[in-house]
Symmetry: C2
Subunit: 214 residues, 2 copies
DNA sequence: CGGGGTCTTGATTTCATTCAAAAATGGTGG
DNA sequence: CCACCATTTTTGAATGAAATCAAGACCCCG
């Protein structure tokens, strides 16, 4: 793993709480602060003029949200679960960028960390077939989910958000998950829980290997 | 318009030519140079394991392609038309980044310039309806196309690439364009030519205003 | 003057959305 | 602790839109 930005006051910073559904910042607002997620899962949301809601990204602990790449935030950030986060001012973030840039001689890994998932989503939802998209999505996040002592994944994402992320209907997401369950590829031991029974099958479907057996 | 990076040797640099279809760099190759497009149109291409081809972005004169945000290029860059470009070493680009970062106190506009279209594509192909996607796409590029003395746009993008960009079939793109022609919204006076007759209609359709009259 | 690629068009099939409604879940307040 | 509500998830059936298949027209190139 590449290391994240080191902020001078990082360890001393106050961890703010937010409850599920809370807005962290709004699309269009000027980028005044960067949010570093410490606990929980957040989502980036973009609403089209006609009300179509898209989830542009999911964020996990360690991610930096709302980098001042443009003048204004390009999406709204909301808490999916309860979460804890730390704020950095735009200026202190820029200073950290310069420092890290000079030391590593390369670009900041945190820029990559925010931009890469956005890029990856574009590729995922460009794929044909709901099941392919679901598996590509699963593959991209299962390594970032906490594991319970029993070996299950903590998976608190509502299907509505997954549908918004995959640009599909919630019913289709549900049917997709059912298919994966019935194929013995995943199990859902409980709400907010997910067990990967056949990881290679997920990768296989995600890469489109099996034409239309699924 | 935000200003692009100033490279010390920018104006003195040699402009390299490339012919249509030529590869500028390959997905997965280490990011060793940044390409600054001077003339023509380029595309970013990503091929899935099963051979599905997606166009991740179109690039126009002034754009920087292949920023070293990650270690390796995330897409293959190819010339759509004949083009002219200038190469910058990764190092000289990083130095320019630090300089600009310190002077402006903000992040580099060229990072935004490459990342923003990628972000925007995600939003576009997340929309439902081929015609909506086509219009959203048109709206996003028509301001970057050269204008002929007659007032037409120079539009050298093959429909196959547009289909790859919009994650749809070439036939659907063709039908979509026909519909726009028959509705008097655009005209196609010749190959590589496009006339916008009703720009507001494009914006209206792109924003999903007209439910399903189209 | 071919010939390969792109564009165009129609017919058909497939898949996902939509509509509708029931079941499950979580939270709330009595 | 339980009843109740709101939200999410699930399921089925019908509809609709786009992909696919197939074939012909067009155009640019050598």
């Amino acid at each position: 793993m590449l290391c994240q930005v080191q902020h001078a006051a990082s360890s001393r910073a106050i961890v703010m709480p937010a409850s599920a559904g809370e807005v962290l910042f709004l699309e269009g607002d000027p980028c005044e602060r960067v949010i570093e997620l410490r606990r929980g899962i957040a989502r980036g949301v973009s609403i089209s003029a006609d009300g179509e809601r898209q989830v542009t990204a999911f964020f996990f602990p360690g991610d930096q949200i709302g980098l001042p790449i443009a003048e204004a935030y390009r999406f709204t950030a909301e808490a999916v679960t309860e979460l804890g986060y730390v704020c950095h001012s735009r200026q202190s973030w820029s200073e950290a960028l310069i420092r890290s840039c000079r030391e590593q001689g390369g670009l900041l890994s945190s820029i990559c960390a925010e931009q890469d998932p956005i890029f990856r989503r574009g590729i995922i939802i460009g794929r044909h077939g709901v099941l392919v998209r679901i598996c590509a999505f699963l593959r991209s996040i299962i390594d970032r989910l906490p594991v319970t002592p029993e070996g299950d994944l903590v998976f608190p994402l509502p299907q509505i958000d997954i549908a918004g992320y995959l640009a599909t209907a919630p019913e289709s997401v549900c049917r997709g998950f059912r298919q994966l369950r019935e194929s013995g590829i995943i199990a859902v031991p409980g709400r907010d829980r997910l067990t990967i029974l056949d990881r290679s099958a997920i990768v296989r479907i995600a890469s489109g290997a099996c034409q239309r057996s699924f």
